[in-house]
Symmetry: C2
DNA sequence: GGCGCTCTTTGATCTTGGTCAAATAGTATT
DNA sequence: AATACTATTTGACCAAGATCAAAGAGCGCC
């Protein structure tokens, strides 16, 4: 690997605190690949051979179902994904596909597993990341169980805003159909959900979302009582 | 701590492979408590001071909502829980209550964190357990998103059977209202779900469940394509 | 054993969200 | 700019599950 984003990857929480030489070793065994949009990177059930780091682009993690796929997470750069499978040498639970053309760093899982054994900082970071991932999934599950669709959308928008510097307006990343799948509803219902949010301070034109009344939206969406983990 | 179940706790995957002396050290700093039924052990939002190990009884992990709580997991002995919060010194995401009188080993979180740093085997076991927990949550989320209620119940019964030596009949642990909350439905709807499962090889009388036609139930419930992780 | 309580089940009705169909908007290509 | 294709939206309708109400069942307690 020899790319200009290397420092940015090295600054990821996962790799940040580890020994420099060992990080170099990991990176030297990894390779950066460019994938076109709509390409499946791996499929659920396959053995996890690589830890992936999205450097640029947009990735969808989804679980293929008989009738319809369901989206679990959208990965934006720069971020590692499927750590859980890679670290434990297990089959992927989800499939991954690119939504846009993407550059992905592929880190051989065996090398990560080896480095974790040697490097306490990497180990600690891995544990933290796994724990945070677990907590994210708990939140998503609760969201799905206790909120109805427009509320889920409202919370998603608030969360998206929070992750992007509390921006009050932004472009949705990815298609709305994917967002619908992520939020556990049909595209038709997502449309309607945007409609009901209009009465709660949200204005949408195409992919552009404006949160015009954060108070009202928050009141409507009833966010979690335990605040999101810092990331 | 000085109890006869100690060997059983020591045999848990989490503690099994670690250094014996260090395990003794952890245990010596822990204490066993007996709680009556329907007692809240901790509440979401509190700082996680202890890793808990259920020695005997039945525990419900739930997320308190404004309108109604939602159950995330039922803990049966012997099993540790809330590892993610304890290991990272974070607030609990969930609350816990006893469903029956229970004995719980309370392991100070700081002591676990210290031991993890020192003991590679414990570290590895913790990572594995966190990863498995993550995967469980993903499965639960997918279950919630793609299956309807009777199918979720069917899968739960199949999973319960698998976890208990493929028993074809068993007693449900806990009240049905809790099971309903775990499966993300109302008690009324759980009743009806049992009704529809009657046509798919499941016989229920009170808390006693008999899977009389596993083939039919499996066909109806459409279990995950990626098989459950061994535990 | 009977009483009072809670849990579970059943029935009727309502709400949410899914399905199907068609119109509209958006985008890429020629 | 026109065309072809796909994504999104809208409307009508349907189905799953929630809610409300009331009737059993089970269980502890006196």
């Amino acid at each position: 690997m020899r790319i200009e984003e290397k420092p940015e990857i090295a600054r990821l929480p996962l790799f940040r605190d580890m020994d420099d030489a060992r990080r170099e070793d990991i990176f030297s065994g990894s390779f950066l690949q460019v994938f076109p949009a709509q390409l499946t990177l791996f499929e659920a059930g396959q053995q996890a051979d690589f830890l992936h780091v999205l450097v640029d682009g947009l990735i969808e993690l989804y679980v293929p179902g008989t009738a319809r796929d369901t989206t679990i997470q959208l990965i934006e750069p720069v971020k590692s994904f499927i750590l859980a499978a890679a670290v434990n040498d297990m089959p992927y639970l989800m499939s991954a596909r690119t939504l846009t053309s993407s550059r992905v760093l592929l880190v051989p899982a065996a090398r990560i597993r080896g480095a974790i054994k040697e490097d306490a900082a990497l180990m600690q970071a891995t544990m933290t990341k796994l724990a945070l991932g677990y907590r994210d999934m708990v939140r998503a599950l609760v969201d799905m169980k206790i909120r109805q669709s427009a509320e889920r959308l409202g919370n998603y928008l608030l969360g998206y805003s929070a992750k992007h510097g509390d921006a009050w307006q932004f472009e949705l990343s990815g298609e709305k159909r994917v967002l619908a799948s992520l939020l556990g509803m049909t595209p038709e219902n997502l449309s309607r959900a945007f409609g009901t949010l209009k009465q709660h301070g949200v204005n949408v034109v195409g992919a552009r979302v404006r949160i015009e009344d954060r108070e009202a939206l928050t009141a409507f969406a009833r966010p979690d009582s335990v605040p999101a983990d810092p990331n």
